[in-house]
């Protein structure tokens, strides 16, 4: 059995989760504080992957990053970057596709913190960044863990969007979910079964881990 789709999937999920932690946390914090037309539109756009067929998102990404035209052409000409049929493209698609799984729980957690926590920090002379780093983030740890695990697990299960933008290139874009589909197409049910079982086992263990962690609220600093 070829394990490269499994490793590629885990690598993609890890990078996607890391990228979303970096850009998702400040974005979720900003969304939790501002209620303007702009923030509502941005939040609606972030939520779209939850309701949009993955193939539609993949199709638009394919159009946007097509190296023959528009943005894709410009990126290739100026930065020698190609997103279509590359691992970079999978990361970009996964970040967009899994974004609501990171943003939504973290934003809700920020909103549930009393406003006076940040205000108390400001009166002690602390900047917004110091307040976020030392007061707000440590107090939403359980939600951060849930968001990171959901993002990771959701990325493991991507199919339509990665197939559209990445295709099925072994070792480059052939992730586990595509390997399952490809194996079935080739009537290699044993391989499909192996890939499926490994995906099932990993995601089940992760989701179970989060459920067990959240069952013991004493671990939460807010308890």
């Amino acid at each position: 059995m070829d394990f490269s789709p499994i490793w590629l999937t885990l690598k993609l999920a890890a990078i996607t989760t890391l990228v979303l932690l970096l850009i998702g946390l400040p974005l979720a914090w900003w969304l939790s504080r501002k209620r303007s037309l702009v923030s509502i539109i941005i939040e609606a756009l972030i939520t779209m992957p939850l309701v949009l067929p993955p193939s539609v998102l993949g199709f638009y990404l394919l159009l946007a990053f097509n190296p023959q035209q528009g943005l894709g052409h410009w990126l290739q000409q100026n930065f020698d970057v190609q997103f279509v049929f590359s691992f970079k493209g999978l990361v970009l698609a996964s970040v967009i596709y899994s974004m609501p799984f990171m943003i939504s729980p973290v934003k809700s957690a920020f909103e549930q913190l009393p406003a006076s926590l940040a205000q108390a920090s400001y009166t002690l002379g602390k900047t917004q960044w110091q307040t976020l780093r030392y007061v707000l983030l440590p107090n939403i740890k359980p939600s951060l863990l849930t968001a990171a695990v959901l993002t990771f697990a959701h990325t493991l299960g991507e199919f339509g969007v990665v197939l559209m933008i990445g295709g099925n290139i072994p070792g480059v874009t052939r992730v586990a979910s595509i390997a399952v589909y490809d194996s079935v197409e080739q009537r290699d049910y044993a391989a499909a079964n192996h890939y499926s079982f490994i995906l099932f086992a990993i995601t089940f263990a992760m989701v179970l881990g989060v459920f067990i962690y959240n069952k013991y609220p004493a671990k939460s600093p807010l308890a």
Partner: protein, 205 residues
């Protein structure tokens, strides 16, 4: 001296009402703020702290403009150097008693002294959820004092303390306020608890 002349529209159950405050607070004075619920006592001290923006007017503190609507000046809370005791304490659940004070100041001697004043020496490593209501309230007061503020704003700061503890703490705090030269405003529903400590009074509503 802190000179305040501000207005702020408040939403009330019977429609809109306007909070108007015009008063001067002498340096080192201790002022009791009284008035019925919902008249804007908390809003007023939050405007002084820079946590809520007045609709119009000005706030000047010792020749520094903190707020001036016509000149479009509004100093953020970080630049006003204010101690604030929140009604809900606003303690940080992730920090121990000592970490609360260390977050506010690097002065280890001052931290030890505050812990002693608040009777929290033996609870230094406890987080807020392992403190009683009275201990939490004392920590909120100590944290506000940790930055040695020139203006200390306290919103119902003694409501959870028993009579004996309240009396002892108030006496100690009075000396401490004088030592750091703080001007103090205390919102209180209980007219008796501040007898003998306050030098001025502001009634709102």
């Amino acid at each position: 001296m802190i000179a305040v002349d501000i207005e702020k529209g408040l939403k009330a159950y019977n429609g809109q009402q306007v909070l108007r405050i015009k008063k001067e607070f002498i340096t080192g004075s201790i002022t009791r703020i009284t008035g019925p619920s919902g008249t804007g006592k908390t809003t007023f001290i939050k405007m002084l702290a820079g946590l809520i923006t007045p609709d119009s007017g000005s706030i000047n503190a010792n020749n520094t403009i903190w707020f001036n609507a016509s000149q479009n000046i509004n100093l953020p809370p970080q630049q006003r150097h204010i101690g604030f005791v929140f009604q809900d304490y606003a303690l940080f659940p992730n920090m121990t008693v000592k970490q609360h004070l260390e977050y506010a100041t690097n002065d280890a001697d001052w931290i030890n002294r505050l812990l002693s004043i608040g009777g929290l020496d033996t609870f230094a490593d406890h987080k807020p959820n392992h403190l009683s209501g009275g201990q939490q309230q004392r920590l909120a007061i100590l944290r506000a004092l940790a930055i040695k503020p020139k203006l200390l704003l306290m919103d119902e700061p003694f409501s959870s303390l028993d009579v004996k503890m309240k009396s002892a703490l108030i006496k100690t705090l009075k000396l401490l306020f004088a030592q750091i030269g703080a001007t103090v405003l205390i919102v209180s529903h209980n007219p008796q608890e501040l007898d003998g400590i306050t030098t001025d009074e502001l009634e709102i509503g």
